[in-house]
Structure formats: C-alpha cells, structure tokens
Symmetry: C2
Subunit: 333 residues, 2 copies
C-alpha cells in the first residue's frame, strides 16, 4: 500500500476538488491521506488535522516558517517522518519548494531541486526540467538538471540511453543567451548523451527524451504550451457552435477531439515531480480539478513504485558531485 499525503488546503479549488480527486485515486494500491481541518468532509479517507493554510500570495519561506502546522508543512513532514511515501500539493509551488527544502532536504550533491514535467509528445514523452523551481539558475545547475532528467527518463519513462537537449532559441550551438551558451558547453563536455539545442516549437513532437532549461524559461514555455492548447480547442469549439454545419461536424469529430485532448490536456498529466529531494514530492496546478488531482496522486504513487528518490540517490551523487566539481570555475564567474 502506497500512502500519499495530500495537502487538502492547497490550490484554487481546495478543499472540495482535492478531496474528491483523492477519493477517486484511492484503490487497493493507493491510500491517500488528507491533511486539513478537523471538520473536513473526507469522503471516508484518513485525515490528519492541520487547520492552517498557506495562501498563494504569501512569501514562501516566511509562510513555511511561521506555519509549521499548516496542511502543506504537515503533509511534507509526514514524508520526512516516514508516515507517508509521497506528498502532493496543488498550493503555492514556492511554499512547497521551501517546505520541502526545510523538512526533507536535498539529496547529497544536489545544488538545486528542479521541477520535472512529462510533456506528452507525439513520438513519446519528453521530460522538461526545470519547469519552474528556480527562476534564476547558473550553468552548473542546468547541467545537474540534465543528469536528473536523464535518470528520470531512464527509470520512469523507460528510455534507454536518453538523449538530453538544451532549450534555446535556435538549434545551432551558438544560438542562445549567456546562460544557455555556458550550459551548452558544460552539457557537451559531460558524460550525458547531449543532442545539442532544441527549440520550444518542437516540445510537443517528443523528438527527444529530456529538455533542460532554467525554471523561468521552462515555466514560460510550459504555460505557453498549455495556454495555446486551451485557446485553440476553445476557439474551434466556439467556431463550431456558430453554424449548424459546424454543430453536426462537432458531434462527429468528438471522439477524435477527445483523444487529442486527452493526450495533451495538462489535466491528464496532472502533476510534476520536484526532483533532488530526500522524499517524493508532486506538485499539481493551482487550478487542478478532481481529475487532475487523481492523476497527480497516481503519478506520485508511480514514483514510489519506481523508487524514483532511491534511484536518484543511488545513481545521482557520483554524477552531480563530479559535475559540480568540474564546473566550480564557472560557478564563481
């Protein structure tokens, strides 16, 4: 039985959608444990009482320090204390990161945890890392993200000898800003199978296994992708509604449209791993519905099953410590 600690008070649609999603994810293999107020209607799930909540607007570090009994901090502590195998929150990413750094701490050798999102590409899944944990990053951080992403692709996505690419503004080696130019050199010199730069227009192709970027750029790219999917599907839908012919056509294409939506919808992949910590942390969109929460809990359980943290711990330290050492001069720039 995999126990997933669920922050019932995190997210725009908490607690109702969170609880409903957790209830839907409960199975003979998965046991969601809710962290929330005593009067929460848990739909029969186990509850650990934690009545304080951390808002999206609060300063992450201050909020985490001043609210040790918040649903988020308590849920993360449950993983640190071995009472749960993984934790999920749809609340503030910054606060989740702060609480995880404070309560779980980093794996040995890891400079910065990073958010790894699986993008459902046409030819297969691609890991985008970092999708938003570090707004400012240095070249050696990007190198570590490459290592973490490659291990993730191997262990969880089953990629053998995964290819790592660097997100930039052109495929040519010399295209990019200073950060990507420097990171490009580090990645090129590393033991990773580095395929050079890739462009954001190719993210949905699934042409590579791992796409490395800083958290600011990764977040911008991911949200552009998500926003465009929604805008386009909604645009087609409202165009179809405007004519009888369109309405009839819309009925006929519904199954096909649903298959595409299911593949690309952020609600389907639901969550992202926060990698580099001594415990499995999954974050979900602030706007997550019950479906997204259910998927995110399943994603967390998959990470536990596949022993993501343990495998990173086993294999990562050598790689990242070696990388960090070799890049110290760059770090001091």
């Amino acid at each position: 039985m995999i126990r997933v600690a669920v922050d019932a008070l995190g997210g725009d649609r908490a607690p109702d959608e969170i609880v409903a999603g957790a209830a839907a994810a409960a199975s003979s293999e998965i046991e969601p444990v809710l962290f929330g107020p005593a009067d929460l209607d848990t739909l029969g799930l186990e509850l650990v009482v934690a009545s304080e909540s951390i808002g999206m607007d609060e300063h992450p570090v201050e909020a985490v320090r001043s609210k040790p009994d918040s649903s988020l901090v308590r849920a993360i502590r449950a993983v640190a204390d071995g009472e749960a195998d993984a934790v999920l929150s749809a609340g503030s990413t910054g606060a989740t990161l702060a609480a995880a750094l404070f309560r779980l701490r980093r794996l040995p050798g890891v400079l910065r945890p990073a958010i790894a999102v699986v993008i459902p590409g046409r030819a297969g899944p691609t890991v985008l890392i970092d999708a938003g944990a570090n707004a400012d990053a240095r070249p050696e951080h990007l190198l570590q993200f490459g290592h973490m992403g490659a291990l993730f692709a191997e262990e969880i996505l089953g990629a053998s000898d995964p290819e790592v690419r660097l997100l930039s503004i052109g495929e040519e080696d010399e295209k990019g800003n200073q950060l990507t130019l420097d990171a490009h050199e580090l990645l090129r010199a590393s033991e990773l199978r580095f395929g050079g730069n890739t462009e954001s227009r190719r993210l949905l192709e699934g042409a590579t296994d791992v796409v490395v970027t800083d958290g600011f750029t990764g977040n911008i790219a991911l949200k552009a992708l998500e926003g465009t999917i929604w805008s386009l599907l909604d645009g087609i839908q409202s165009e179809l509604r405007s004519t009888l012919r369109g309405k009839l056509g819309g009925l006929l294409i519904r199954p096909a449209a649903r298959r595409v939506r299911r593949r690309l919808d952020p609600e389907s992949y639901g969550g992202a791993y926060l990698l580099g910590l001594r415990g499995l942390v999954v974050i979900a969109h602030g706007s997550s519905s019950r479906v997204a929460i259910e998927n995110a809990i399943q994603l967390a359980a998959r990470g536990v099953e596949h022993r993501v943290v343990e495998r990173l711990e086993e294999r990562l330290p050598d790689r990242v410590v070696a990388s960090a050492r070799s890049t110290t001069p760059t770090a001091e720039k």
Copy 2:
C-alpha cells in the same frame, strides 16, 4: 506607391517562394523590388542584382561585413539610401539585425532595437516585444521595449492608452527572475500604463495591448505557441483521418477549422517589425511560404502607410532618453 525591398535569397525556401510571394503582393499600392542574382526569374518584378547570399549558419556581424553586396545588405541599403520604403528578409534574423544596425542605425535614444510581433489574441491583437532581437537584455532595455511597444500599439493597432504588461512566471509582482523583478520596478515607475505581470498561458487571450519581455524569453514563448498550434491542428487532422466518422466530421468542420487556423496561423501574420531603427525592417520566418511572404510584404507596406518609423522618431526620443537617464544607476549594476 510603396516600394518594398525584398531579399530574394533569405529563407529556407528562397528564392522560389520569396519571388512568388512578392509577385502576389504586388498591387497598385505595393511595388516589391527583388534583390537577388542576375538570372533570377522575377515573375516580372524589378530586380536589383546582388548575387551573394548570407546563410543561416554564418556569424551575423562577420557575414554582413564581408558581404556588402549580398542580397540582404543591398536590400537594407536601398532603404538607407531612400530607394525603397521598407525591407523584408526571411533570412537570418541575426544578420538582418546586424545589417540594419550597420546600415540604417538606431533611432536617437534607442539602446537596442527589438522585434515586435503581433499576436492574434481572441479579444484583439497583442504586441509581443522583444520576440528575439536581444538574447540577453537589461532591465532598462525592457523599459524601452515597453515604450516602443506602446507606441506601436497606439499607432498601428489603434489602441488608445495601451496597457503594457511584463511577461513573467506569475501575475503577482514578486514573481519572476532578477531581470523581470528589476524591469517590473522600472515599468511601474514609468509613465506607461503598466498593468503588472502576465503569464505566457494568456498570450492568445489578447487580454492586454503590449507584452514586454527579453528576446530569449519572447522567442521561446512565441515558438512554443506556434509549435503547439501546428502540433494540435495536425494531431486533430490525423485523428480525424483514422475513422470514417472522423473523415465526415472533418469535412463538415473544415470552414470553422480554417477560420481558427487563419486567425492563429503564423503564416497569416507572416512577419515582425524590427523596431528602433531609422528605417522600416520586417523579418519573416525562415520557413516562410509564398503566403507568409505576401503577408509580410503587406505588413511592411502597412508600416510605411502608418509612418511607424517617423512616429517612433517623433515621439520616442523624449520617452526613451528620459527612461535611459532615470535608469542609469540600474544600467551600471
């Protein structure tokens, strides 16, 4: 008659698609002039012989210096010499920028030219600036981009008192990397109508008039948007082809899908302005088809009609010089 100098050798599909697009754009108001080799089949258009071409892989500054008689440099010189009203190239953006800086020079007070792209949002057009001219930018550059974008939105898109927003990873003021945090303060303190941060997921909503960003981030966001549109439309199309029901539905929805595609397709908006120079420069996608080239030439002509460069020159210097002065301490950081 508006004369548009067209670099017939720039772009992946040059010269055939370039010439075809130029011929299609020719009208009683627009006179495209081709710059290319003597044996070019010009489809009846005027030709200025320039046989050298600058490849996508060449170092921009070196290529521009060593090839003064290339089609790109000659086309830009035609604008500098008053022989054409605007110039269009689908070749290397870096080389176009380098040639424009060298041959046209910047408008007084402008620190850095920037690429302004009009994104066809649902509620109306949005100017994204910078979409790729400056891979590394400083906060005061972003402030200038805000001024240039606002003037562009007023003069070309007819926005009255345009709202300017800053592209970041959250709408809250404190979300962003160091560059956006610093630029946020400058924009907030400026005379612009600054609406705060916006996220890339909202780019297609058309919720604001101007979105300011550095060229690296803007390019990543724009290409993510374009790539997603293509992936999604292609994905729906191939799903529809897989069943008879889908095929029939596909026929029925074709007009609606075409309307959406027409609004969102990068081929429709075709080109982008390179703002801040003493002459009108339009750049088009490297992959531009004849349709994209035709649209880009029309975009160039519209810029001439609306006197974009002259109006920027009239109104910008006060604003940007004032901005540059007030931000000198930041610039020296």
